[in-house]
Symmetry: D2
Subunit: 147 residues, 4 copies
Amino acid sequence: MHRQHAPSHRFAVRVYYEDTDAAGVVYYANYLKFCERARTEWLRALGFEQQKLREERALVFVVRTVEAEYLKSGVLDDALTVESSIAEIGRSKLVFAQTVMRGSERLFDCRVGVVCVDWNKRKPASVPPDIRALMAAHPDTHTESHR
Amino acid sequence: MHRQHAPSHRFAVRVYYEDTDAAGVVYYANYLKFCERARTEWLRALGFEQQKLREERALVFVVRTVEAEYLKSGVLDDALTVESSIAEIGRSKLVFAQTVMRGSERLFDCRVGVVCVDWNKRKPASVPPDIRALMAAHPDTHTESHR
Amino acid sequence: MHRQHAPSHRFAVRVYYEDTDAAGVVYYANYLKFCERARTEWLRALGFEQQKLREERALVFVVRTVEAEYLKSGVLDDALTVESSIAEIGRSKLVFAQTVMRGSERLFDCRVGVVCVDWNKRKPASVPPDIRALMAAHPDTHTESHR
Amino acid sequence: MHRQHAPSHRFAVRVYYEDTDAAGVVYYANYLKFCERARTEWLRALGFEQQKLREERALVFVVRTVEAEYLKSGVLDDALTVESSIAEIGRSKLVFAQTVMRGSERLFDCRVGVVCVDWNKRKPASVPPDIRALMAAHPDTHTESHR
């Protein structure tokens, strides 16, 4: 799952008690929360708010697939960074490649497949051209399949 | 906050990793999740599902106040019981008295004030007479104020 | 990711408000909570508690990989079932195949790779023979690789 | 529960899907997460990390009481601010007054009683003089009882 390019987006996450569990580390499902925050902030940085996308364009991004690898454990008080890139862009599907770093240590790697859904019809919709153009503009974006 | 009467409803909760934190105990906000599950199951036991209440009668129960006391810490694998009673019933407001027990040990005590809200008008609504009647039927329900 | 056999373990999960999000469905990370509860309950049903495994044998099960597919959305008040099987057993690694069902509808499919770790040395340890024997006893367990 | 003074500490919180529920608003227990993050960041801003306090001084802050009032609902994408002050300082107990604001709107008010605990003896310990001095230095800190 290693990525060669610079990430397109970086997002800082601090580890609080709520994120940890009795094994003393970040609970495994919570890395998905960190990654979702990062995707949301990336969209926001590009000018899109999910609440507005739903209200104004009836569009929702829905997760369809996750492939994740847990490499090292995050702990309380860690200052983490979520690095995000687009690995694939299809008509209605985006695949994000995301990594949670602690400094130069790689803690967590994932690929998250997200589908753009028409909120009223509950069916897949095309990724809006403006979002697609902005995300594709990032240098490490590649549209070919990843395997 | 001690309650004299037998609880009106008992609900079993198991403590999983997701509920604990790096201090090795149940994270403080999660007792509110346990209590919400118990209130929901009590309503369900009386014949009411929250999803249906919203869809069919446009009614939602919204928490307005919480007073909570943390007495002992729950830990991983604990088998807990949430004991629930009604402390007060007003026109649109219910106050639940809830306790989280581990066997005979009292871990957590709370009073949760819940208001019945008209989902369309976003305004307080009367607690439906059928719910009120069922809850008031419980022997330890008292309608006088608790302070 | 389809599984042919009867699951080795079934675990009931109810969907509460805490599990849902503003899109009206179960939040995507929470299916991993449901699956972790099911793995824990399966271990418990076989006679093992995670807290005791850590205290008495210094063993912890740590998630290393997750592959997940979101097929349909769970909603508030859903009565779900997590079906769990062992897909692979290695020396120190177990791969669980887990599915979240709503009646006969398949909502969520995952494979979760778990490594048995020596809590003191923080290194992989062999899956204890007693746990291995009990899990392997289940009819649908297969030890060959799944791809 | 209204506070007259300027808060001693402000902390920004963004509302993500993980924080919301199927009623379309921030789930009630999650305000306690926001407030715990804010207390942690305040301590950190004063030079204290909870992980280090536990490792180096065997001190943990444990919540004993919560009194909370839900005034308005936060929704997805909200940019919130947690305002925190010290309402009381006792020998081993601190009471925080915390408010979650959305711009000038007050969403949530709470008082959180926290006890300083000796992690080894599992008994209350004095609030370290250096922490006490720093917190008491804030202009709105008052040591008299709040009722």
